[in-house]
């Protein structure tokens, strides 16, 4: 809190500096107010992306035409009428960021939405910024662990990668994102930015409450532009989120940013573009809809040591309709990102949750973003699951199968079962590796499929209470050697003696 005498002293200093320097403003007059877009005459010096102010509102210039300027409002602007004055500010849209933002919920303009004190900004970060160049980057080689076995084993994500989460509504896209945030809890956690675009306020409130319960809110910032907010705020929200992420990245930190979801972002941009009378293209989206997302996602980067060694990992979310991943926006974002996690409704309905279609999901970074420990068990699992998927198609015909095929099918069922995971229960890598090693080495072959989850739970408790040495070995990140293998075998054998199906 600044002392009152300091405030008075600073005011007196400002007054004493009163000089003949003029303040020059470029002004305009409102001609039209259309659904959150203002058409104003004048403003001959306005720049694209410049903030302009109305008597009780503010906006951003988006179109510069011959005789007028189009401005998107940053709030409802119901009291703006024809003839009102609008002034330029000379500033491009930016957001004030500081460490105080951690644990807070803000809107895309940086204003708090959680009822707490105003955030004192340490630096103004521009919302629009050119992404880091090739020379400033480093290859992605450090894992970002989600705590979800299916992802960490077969679709590994690295720090600095863009991995799309795509699927129909209600399949657990946001659940994967939240589990990833919860899993970052550590001494020096990865800073998380969750950008909620066009969502219900009740949904955002639930997410915030869950993060608080799991103590994940201390390293998370929520940027919310809800369904009832102006389309301009929904359009700006992801850029505000990445601007906040860049602030922390420049300090050498690793940041995870989740855009939930970019489909609604595209809708908001389409709405603005149509009101701005920009030419409509396919599905009424404007011609630069690809650029809207590409310039956003390009800002996810892994910087080299010379530039601070920070990173931004992006998990954009896209909602499909009826599983159609070949629609316009999904194909655009798939082509931009470094892989996708495809969630399927059929899998969700038969109880496989997370409902990840491993066959259609990919991580283009692959093993480079996995620890040696995980790599040594995951490769075998991926292969066996692929074989299982091939065989499962034939098994549907009901023909008699040979013993080897039946064994393969049974093993595949157990692998699918072990990859199931309850929500809000991300696992540390050591336990993930333990589970996967157990199933790939046949220790679950004699356990009924329905008992697998109980087996896994009790195995984890057993190891945590009595076999800490195994966990420590699996946490080192090195490839599983003979000694570790012997230790794992002994552990599983000891556990199976006490486990009753």
């Amino acid at each position: 809190m600044i002392e009152e005498t300091d405030i008075i002293r600073q005011l007196e200093k400002r007054l004493s500096q009163f000089s003949t320097d003029q303040s020059i403003q470029n002004v305009g007059t409102v001609s039209k107010n259309n659904d959150g877009v203002i058409i104003a005459s004048g403003l001959s010096q306005a720049m694209i992306g410049e903030i302009v102010t109305f008597p009780s509102s503010s906006g951003v210039v988006l179109n510069l035409d011959e005789d007028n300027v189009s401005i998107i409002l940053l709030d409802t602007g119901v009291d703006i009428k024809e003839g009102d004055r609008v002034k330029t500010t000379g500033k491009l849209l930016s957001i004030g960021v500081s460490e105080d933002m951690l644990g807070r919920v803000v809107n895309p303009l940086g204003l708090p939405m959680d009822g707490k004190a105003k955030i004192k900004a340490a630096k103004d970060m521009p919302l629009e910024r050119i992404a880091a160049g090739v020379v400033e980057r480093e290859p992605v080689n450090t894992p970002l662990k989600t705590g979800i076995k299916a992802i960490d084993a077969m679709i590994p994500i690295g720090r600095g990668q863009r991995e799309l989460i795509i699927g129909d509504r209600g399949l657990g896209k946001t659940a994967i994102a939240i589990d990833t945030i919860i899993n970052q809890k550590a001494k020096n956690p990865v800073i998380c930015v969750y950008v909620a675009i066009g969502q219900k306020q009740s949904t955002v409130a639930q997410i915030i409450s869950k993060l608080k319960d799991e103590e994940a809110d201390t390293y998370t910032i929520v940027v919310a532009a809800n369904a009832s907010d102006a389309a301009a705020l929904q359009y700006l929200a992801p850029y505000a989120g990445v601007a906040i992420a860049e602030y922390f990245m420049e300090k050498g930190k690793d940041v995870l940013i989740i855009y939930d979801d970019l489909t609604k972002h595209a809708w908001a941009y389409r709405q603005l573009s149509l009101v701005l009378r920009r030419p409509a293209g396919r599905e009424a989206y404007p011609g630069d809809i690809f650029y809207l997302h590409s310039r956003l996602l390009e800002r996810a980067v892994r910087l080299n040591k010379k530039n601070g060694d920070g990173s931004i990992t992006a998990l954009p979310i896209i909602e499909t309709q009826a599983g159609d991943i070949s629609a316009y926006i999904p194909t655009n974002v798939i082509s931009i990102t470094d892989g996708q996690i495809f969630l399927q409704g059929d899998l969700f309905n038969i109880g496989i949750r997370p409902a990840i279609n491993v066959g259609n999901s990919v991580s283009r970074v692959g093993g480079a973003a996995q620890s040696a420990t995980m790599k040594s068990v995951a490769g075998k699992m991926r292969l066996e699951l692929a074989q299982y998927r091939e065989l499962a198609a034939f098994a549907q015909f009901g023909s008699e199968l040979d013993a080897a095929t039946q064994r393969q099918l049974e093993k595949g069922k157990r692998m699918s079962e072990i990859l199931k995971q309850p929500q809000y229960q991300p696992l540390p890598e050591s336990l993930e590796v333990l589970s996967i090693w157990a199933v790939t080495n046949g220790y679950l072959d004699d356990v009924p499929v329905v008992e697998i989850s109980r087996f896994e739970k009790e195995l984890h408790n057993f190891v945590k209470s009595r076999k800490l040495k195994v966990l420590n070995e699996l946490s080192t990140g090195v490839k599983i050697n003979e000694e570790t293998t012997k230790l794992l075998k002994k552990t599983l054998e000891d556990f199976k003696k006490i486990f009753s199906p």
Binding site: I7, L11, S23, I24, G28
Partner: protein
């Protein structure tokens, strides 16, 4: 194409309605008498732009001396200067030239200070 033609006609109308760079009331009434609503609206818009482009508005808290007016006129040759009194300025003057506003007044300084304090201090 149609819009440009319309603009040309409107600009032609302005030159018809002017007397030595000033709008003439008689001529404006004569030429706009039979116009429909949309045409009239466009004309009004063009007339407003014409007045803004050819005039400079100088706001002062009190009446300026002839010498001051002459000095200010020399800065804006070829333009009509409209002097307005606005006691709210407290001191100084404010010049509005088309869409540029040059604030030399104390009131805007105090307003800037007020906004600065509101933004930076709790």
């Amino acid at each position: 194409m149609a819009k440009r033609l319309h603009k040309k006609i409107s600009q032609g109308l302005i030159s018809l309605c002017c007397d030595e760079n000033y709008l003439s009331l008689e001529k404006v009434q004569q030429y706009t008498k039979n116009m429909n609503r949309s045409r009239l609206k466009q004309c009004i818009c063009e007339f407003k732009n014409f007045v803004e482009n050819t005039s400079v508005f100088i706001d002062t808290p009190k009446e300026l001396s002839i010498k001051d007016k002459d000095t200010l006129s020399s800065f804006f040759k070829g333009k009509k200067i409209v002097y307005r009194i606005d006691p709210n300025l407290i001191l100084g003057l404010k010049i509005t030239d088309k869409d540029m506003v040059y604030s030399f007044d104390l009131s805007s300084r105090l307003q800037n200070l007020r906004e600065d304090v509101a933004q930076n201090y709790d």
